[in-house]
């Protein structure tokens, strides 16, 4: 049994930065399985809006979730990248609107109040990345609400 990955990323750890619209979020790299470019998404009628659809990852049917809508923000318009995350409830894809990249996080520059997020980090010169709490964000309860 694989141990459950850390739900969120901390200072000093490797993170995957995923751009969503004008924002950037950070995920613990160890929770990320892979990044799929241009996933072929099949719309899933009658599902909650946050489910953009399902796509095929080597025979597994994986839901693609709207990262922005999950956080209560305006939904994304397109889904050029899917970041595959291991969760306690199976694998899920999170939409990234630009190519994600890996960084090592420096010290936190502040707490993030948004539900489903933990800390804010400075990445590069002026870009801020908000660390996502995968276990809160990717739960059946949150997806179906």
């Amino acid at each position: 049994m694989p141990t459950a990955p850390a739900p969120s990323v901390n200072a000093g750890q490797l993170a995957l930065l995923i751009p969503v619209g004008s924002d950037t979020y950070a995920l613990p790299l160890e929770a990320v399985r892979e990044v799929v470019v241009d996933p072929r998404v099949t719309e899933l009628p009658t599902s909650p809006a946050v489910v953009r659809g399902v796509f095929n990852v080597r025979g597994d049917i994986v839901p693609l979730l709207d990262t922005a809508l999950l956080l209560g923000l305006r939904p994304v318009i397109e889904e050029p990248y899917a970041v595959l995350i291991e969760t306690a409830h199976g694998i899920a894809g999170l939409v990234a609107t630009e190519m994600p990249m890996t960084v090592r996080l420096s010290e936190s520059v502040g707490h993030s109040d948004m539900e489903g997020t933990t800390e804010t980090y400075l990445v590069g010169d002026s870009r801020l990345a908000v660390a996502l709490d995968v276990s809160t964000l990717l739960s059946p309860a949150r997806i179906s609400r």
Binding site: P45, S47, P48, R58, G59, A92
Partner: protein, 807 residues
């Protein structure tokens, strides 16, 4: 190797649990045969051997308490084997009680729960039972042996008083058989089911005008004009029809059966290996393995197939070699297909592996109700996917119990009607194409259609105008019961609708036939495996969807519809059927002018307009995962050879959705309030069901899931609290009496947490005392439902009411 040890101790225990389950089934089966056919040294030896093996296995996997009970069981059987203890009803009861105890202890042991006290009690009961009457010799044969537990009680009570004053004597556990049971071997009972189940199954329809038998209105059997239920022939044995069987019959049987016992008793201790089990593959040819390994195998083969197809398209695209022209490629594809078929076959188990449990239920209930009932099985070779069979266990148990409780008449009534005293319940399984048909039939009084109509008529005025066949199917409605007397078993109106719901989950359907006075037959048809599903593929709003063929009744060319009472209707086979555009029901587009697919749910049909029809395919259906809430209109999805995903629609959910949109219930759209495709409002509501009885729990789960709720379950208060701390449910429905933490304590604990104070709690219990009700409301429950007054619609409306109030 410790990290990737394929067999940690827990696995061993689970494996033992599976094995023991089979052995206990065998034990019960042999035991009931023994009861029927008198003492038989081979049977006794076989019983002994099973108990012995269970004892050994339990000790090996670290279940000492289970081993102790099995040891006591072995000792008891040893007394019988050595002819120091006779075979009588109390003995059978004791052994059955021992089997039950072991069955309930194993899961506790696997879960690491404390079961020492329960094991001690079970062991004591078995020890007490050893002190039963001596083996039946000539003298015993002269006395009517199996008339009741009196003999054993007398013998057992003093011992019981000495060792365990609080415990009832084992012999007294079962109800006494009120009347002498009919002669067991009498071949006098007519077969209630003379014809094998004829479910129309001419292979998957190929044409566009695909038709399948509708679930709600089964077509009459195509060819044989014979009556489905043969009238009871006059019993061959004269004694059976006239009066109660004379004791001399029993004596004769017993004496005959006992003779060989005295003649050739096996040497002590040698019986363990003395008698080989006939008609079973030798142990060396069998392996046992956990089901998940086979699942993994099936999955890997599926992946290999998909990879092969990708390889094929790569060959074509990059090297411009057409793979279908390459022998090697074709061989590979064919081998993989065969491999997949074989792997799927490995998951198959005989349908009749359920028989021991059903036989036991028939036997217990027959004794309880004072009826003589013979249980027959046919179709030993029919096999079915283990996963499907597991889901069939409860529905079949229900049907069999109904047959004994409602179907079979009392011996007196049977005699008056000129029927054999002993009723018959038969389980018949057979494979028909890609389905297995299982029939549960009885030669009892049949279903009184007039009473069904009457019972349904109070809520549905159309019931009075229905023809008999349509009215008969009203029994599958929730809350309908014709039993005037609520027995401990059935007659509460919760039953056949739950059976139907469980069958729905395995894509099965149920049909019923009944001839008043002659018997009833329920037929269940289920797909052999849920792994692949034959589907009709259609396009709607530019996307392809698969509709399971078993729910497709017809396909119609584009045609006009008329509006009747505000609903669009079209004519299907001379009957009006509501019609909707699939795209608007799914919320993916608007109306179209293409052909329609007529889909049959369990109770109603609905036509859906689509863009066009594509073809028919076998789809390997997968679930959509735990993260996505259950979508009633989507059964799952399959990965197509080109890597795309094909969604498989679910007829019942689709029809329900269409009806709600149709009937002007704007909740469908209202709930979606601007969101793209949000679920119906109440689907988001989650219910936590807390009950220690698996059956009750699963029944409630299916009731709520069918009503569109999300359901989680817990088996006791403690577990419920843990679940609640992880995810706050919208409502809690709890039983009262449960291990670890009961329903009152749970309610108090919930009310004690400010964050949970507004979560409605309903207490559902078999205790109907005012004291309990008061206590329930005192500790903060919002509702208190007594199980005996429990019907599905009342429960659902209570839940809806509370959820509505909370929001």
């Amino acid at each position: 190797m410790s990290g990737s040890d394929p067999f940690p101790e827990g696995d061993f225990q689970r494996l033992f649990a599976t094995e023991a389950e089979g052995r206990l089934d065998t034990l019960v089966d042999e035991l009931l045969e023994l009861e029927k056919g008198g003492a038989n040294p081979e049977r006794v030896a076989s019983l002994f051997r099973e108990a012995h093996t269970i004892k050994g296995g339990a000790a090996v996997v670290g279940m000492p308490h289970v081993a102790r009970v099995a040891h006591a069981l072995e000792d008891l059987l040893e007394e019988v084997r050595r002819e120091r203890r006779g075979v009588d009803t109390p003995l059978i009861d004791s052994v059955l009680a021992g089997v039950d105890a072991i069955r309930s202890l194993i899961p506790l042991a696997v879960a690491g729960e404390d079961h020492e006290l329960a094991a001690f009690e079970a062991e004591q009961r078995l020890r007490i039972a050893v002190g039963g009457p001596p083996v039946a010799g000539e003298e015993a044969a002269a006395a009517p042996v199996p008339t009741g537990p009196d003999v054993a009680v007398a013998a057992a009570l003093p011992v019981a008083a000495a060792t365990l004053p609080a415990e009832p004597a084992v012999g007294a556990l079962g109800a006494p058989p009120p009347t002498a049971e009919g002669p067991t071997g009498a071949a006098a009972c007519p077969a209630p089911l003379s014809a094998p189940p004829e479910v129309k199954q001419a292979g998957p329809p190929r044409g566009v005008a695909a038709r399948r038998p509708a679930t709600a209105a089964p077509e009459p059997p195509p060819a044989p004009p014979e009556r489905p239920l043969a009238p009871p022939e006059p019993p061959a044995a004269a004694g059976a029809s006239s009066t109660a069987p004379e004791p001399s019959d029993d004596r004769g049987d017993a004496a005959q059966a006992l003779d060989p016992v005295t003649g050739q008793a096996p040497p002590a201790g040698a019986a363990v290996s003395a008698h080989a089990e006939p008609a079973r593959p030798a142990a060396a040819e069998m392996v046992q393995m956990p089901v998940h390994r086979i699942d993994e195998l099936v999955r890997l083969i599926g992946e290999a197939s998909a990879a092969t197809l990708r390889l094929g398209s790569a060959l074509l695209e990059r090297l411009e070699r057409d793979p279908s022209g390459m022998t090697e490629y074709r061989d590979l594809v064919r081998s993989l297909n065969e491999l997949q078929e074989l792997a799927l076959r490995a998951r198959m188990v005989p349908v009749m592996s359920l028989a021991p449990r059903l036989r036991r239920a028939v036997r217990d209930l027959a004794r309880e109700t004072g009826k003589g009932v013979r249980f027959e099985t046919r179709g030993e070779d029919a096999e079915i996917d283990r996963g499907v069979l597991d889901r069939l266990a409860d529905p079949l148990l229900h049907l069999v119990r109904n047959a004994v409780d409602h179907g079979i008449e009392s011996p007196d009534e049977r005699r008056l009607r000129g029927k054999p005293m002993e009723g018959m319940v038969r389980l018949h399984a057979m494979q028909l194409g890609s389905e297995v048909v299982i029939a549960v039939s009885d030669d009892g009084r049949g279903i009184d259609v007039a009473r069904v109509r009457e019972a349904a008529g109070s809520t549905d005025h159309t019931a009075m105008e229905m023809d008999d066949e349509a009215a008969l199917y009203l029994i599958f409605r929730s809350g309908l019961s014709t039993a005037t007397r609520v027995t401990g078993v059935s007659g509460r109106g919760v039953g056949l609708d739950a059976v139907r719901a469980s069958l729905n989950a395995v894509r099965g359907r149920i049909e019923v036939r009944s001839d008043p006075g002659l018997g009833t037959e329920f037929r269940i048809a289920v797909p052999i495996t849920m792994a692949t599903l034959r589907c009709l593929v259609i396009n709607s709003a530019g996307q392809a969807y698969a509709i399971p063929l078993h729910s497709v009744r017809a396909v119609l060319p584009p045609q006009p519809s008329a509006t009747v009472g505000g609903r669009a209707m079209t004519m299907v086979e001379g009957r009006p059927v509501p019609i909707s555009s699939l795209a608007s029901v799914l919320g993916t587009g608007n109306g179209v002018e293409g052909p329609s697919v007529v889909v049959a749910g369990l109770t109603r049909s609905h036509a859906f307009r689509v863009d066009d029809l594509v073809d028919q395919r076998d789809v390997v259906v997968k679930g959509l995962g735990e993260l996505i809430p259950r979508l009633p209109a989507v059964a799952g999805a399959g990965v197509q050879p080109d890597g795309s995903i094909l969604l498989v629609l679910e007829a019942a959910g689709l029809i329900e959705r269409a009806r709600r949109m149709d009937s002007g219930d704007r909740s469908v759209e209202a709930a979606e309030g601007g969101r793209r495709d949000a679920p119906v409002a109440r689907r988001a509501a989650s219910i936590l069901v807390v009950d220690d009885a698996l059956t009750v729990r699963e029944l409630q789960r299916s009731i709520f899931e069918n009503a569109g709720y999300r359901v989680s379950v817990a088996t006791n208060g403690e577990e419920a609290l843990t679940l609640i701390s992880e995810e706050r449910p919208d409502l809690v429905l709890t039983d009262v009496q449960m291990p670890r933490m009961d329903g009152f304590q749970l309610t108090e604990a919930i009310r004690g947490q400010p964050a949970l104070a507004s979560v409605p709690v309903i207490i559902l219990t078999s205790r109907g005392s005012d004291e309990d009700r008061r206590r329930g409301l005192e500790c903060g429950a919002d509702g208190y439902i007594v199980k005996s007054g429990f019907d599905q619609s009342a429960l659902l409306s209570a839940v809806e009411h509370l959820l509505g109030a909370e929001r």
